[in-house]
């Protein structure tokens, strides 16, 4: 890991972005299979590691502990069949799609702003 160009924040951002892409695939699969027989909608498993990091941040944490927590972020998440739903409900899936798309765009904006911060730090100029 490059000390100069990467930080825990950008690692967390990339992880959240990856997760958003996975979420999109799950939603796409649910919508594609809306009329498939015996198909129950899938959900992406919750990210316990991200929840832990959020908790650490709210309590106040030193950078080493945070770096350790970020290192524990998994490479992939699993999918499971939702127990509550017996069939795909289109309205529900489109709502999830809208939330996920907005989340992704917000993360991208944050990543872009971080890049700007970095280039300002490197160039020494504030634009």
């Amino acid at each position: 890991m490059s000390v100069f160009l990467e930080s825990v924040t950008s690692q967390m951002l990339l992880h959240a972005l990856d997760r958003s892409v996975m979420q999109h695939a799950v939603i796409a699969n649910n919508v594609a299979n809306v009329n498939t027989e015996n198909f129950k909608p899938f959900r992406l498993e919750e990210s316990q590691q991200m929840n832990d990091i959020a908790q650490l941040l709210s309590k106040g944490v030193d950078s080493k502990e945070l770096a350790n927590a970020v290192d524990r972020l998994p490479d992939a998440y699993g999918i499971y069949e939702s127990e509550l739903a017996t069939e795909v409900i289109l309205d529900q899936e489109i709502v999830e799609l809208t939330k996920n798309t907005l989340n992704y765009q917000a993360l991208l904006t944050a990543k872009s702003k971080m890049g700007n911060l970095l280039s300002q730090a490197i160039s020494g100029r504030i634009e």
Partner: protein, 144 residues
Amino acid sequence: MDWVSSIDISLSGMNFQKLRLDVLATNIANSHTTRTSSGTAYKALEAVATTDFADLIDGNELLGVDLLSGVTDVSVVEKDALPRLQFDPGHPDANGDGYVAYPNIDPVKSMADLVTATRAYEANVRVLNAGKLMALKALEIGGK
């Protein structure tokens, strides 16, 4: 997980809904076909999609996202429905008792299926557009 697979998933959904529409159109077009090459009245067709995911899921075990592939098993089957009999002794296809067998295709149900198929198709297009939007936005990182 890359964007191309997500688009393929949406495409498989769109193709299936389009197939449903084609099957529906065939049924409606043949709603008065009294004799096919098999000798009997036309039997309504139905597009069926099945999934074999249940075999992969084992109890509480979680699956990987890369296993998602949209609609995989599609088939068009004949529905076994009794034909609608109409008394018309002069008809060339009338049976011994003077009844003609017409396909049992319910126009109301066909229209309702048309609406749901169109709606499902639109939903798949919506998902595809969202995926495209996200991918395009990602390409803008670093630009002004």
